[in-house]
């Protein structure tokens, strides 16, 4: 016969482990589904970006590349990391800070013809300078072009 105190403690520990187990399982599956990696236009050109999974792309909006569809909210623009460009399509409302020459991040997926179809376009909503991922991606290009 187990000491009642012991038994109680054992129950509590089991409960705790069960709780943590469930939480871990939840976290792992949620991470698996919802993590988004970041790729620069150069990485996409190099074929590093996933074809079937959504991811984020960042870069500067190329001057003069923004083209609107006539009757809808569709818009095309090119993003550059100064080495390569990637064409992006988005249908929806662009953020206030979306401008040519501005660094932005877009979430979305590649389609079969190599167009990045964005589901969301983010420009930072405060006066901060540039999304750090974009800054870093651009830095990398400069590093690499130096090595070449």
């Amino acid at each position: 016969m187990m000491h009642p105190m012991r038994k109680k403690r054992l129950q509590l520990i089991c409960l705790g482990i069960l709780g943590i187990g469930i939480a871990l399982a939840l976290i792992l599956t949620a991470f698996e589904k919802n993590l988004m990696y970041f790729y620069s236009p150069s990485e996409i050109h190099a074929g590093d970006a996933p074809a079937k999974r959504p991811f984020r792309i960042g870069g500067m909006v190329v001057e003069g590349s923004v083209v609107r569809q006539a009757e809808s909210l569709g818009v095309w623009f090119n993003l550059t990391d100064t080495a390569n460009e990637q064409m992006v399509y988005f249908e929806g409302i662009l953020p206030d800070l979306f401008r040519e020459g501005q660094g932005i991040v877009a979430k979305g997926q590649m389609n079969k013809s190599g167009l990045f179809v964005a589901s969301e376009v983010l420009a930072k909503h405060d006066e901060n300078y540039m999304p750090p991922e974009v800054a870093e991606a651009l830095e990398n290009v400069q590093h690499n072009s130096k090595v070449d």
């Binding site: 500067m60 001057e63 100064t82 401008r99 020459g101 501005q102 660094g103 006066e127 901060n128 300078y129 540039m130 750090p132 991922e133 800054a135 870093e136 651009l138 830095e139 400069q142 590093h143 130096k146």
Partner: protein, 175 residues
């Protein structure tokens, strides 16, 4: 011993935070540091007639500040540049980047002009050569025309002082 667990987790967290701090993308050194400033002929912002060679300042060290009237963060550092300009310690050159002449001039009239000369780069071509990928960005150039330091994002008091120190130190060691 069980009671040590929270402390241990905390230490791990702190280590990650510390690494996270060093990861600040603004601290990554630029590949252009140590290279000479590219030489080009550019328009002066105020009059299209005046052409300036970017090498016209060789002989004295200067600060090259890349800005644009559409850039919100440029305003953040602007009062510091104004302050610096009144001290006359070191000339500040503006590079007006991907901007419209009219807007840029209005902006300078409104916010003050700290620049001893302003180069006009409406297409961003010279900026591209410099490796500018956004504004504001600031280059610290020594008297030989070599870029000694580059700052990404708005300047503040601390990093201006630091950059000028770097500039002076490099200057002395190269003499």
């Amino acid at each position: 011993m069980r009671q040590l667990i929270p402390f241990s987790i905390f230490i791990i967290l702190i280590i990650f935070f510390a690494i996270g701090l060093t990861k600040d993308p603004r601290l990554i050194p630029s590949p252009l540091v140590g290279e000479p400033l590219p030489v080009r002929q550019l328009d002066e912002l105020r009059t299209a007639e005046t052409k300036l060679l970017t090498s016209n300042l060789i002989g004295s060290s200067f600060i090259l500040n890349v800005w644009a009237s559409w850039c919100a963060a440029c305003l953040e550092e602007h009062h510091l540049l104004m302050e610096l300009a009144t001290h006359d310690a070191i000339p500040i050159v503006g590079l007006n980047y991907k901007d419209m002449r009219q807007n840029a001039l209005i902006w300078l009239d409104k916010n003050g002009d700290p620049y001893s000369q302003t180069w006009f780069d409406p297409t961003g071509e010279f900026g591209m050569e410099l490796g500018v990928y956004g504004v504001p960005e600031t280059f610290f150039v020594d008297s030989n025309g070599t870029i000694r330091h580059k700052h990404i994002g708005p300047l503040d008091r601390g990093n201006i002082a630091k950059a000028i120190d770097i500039l002076n130190a490099e200057q002395n060691s190269s003499l």
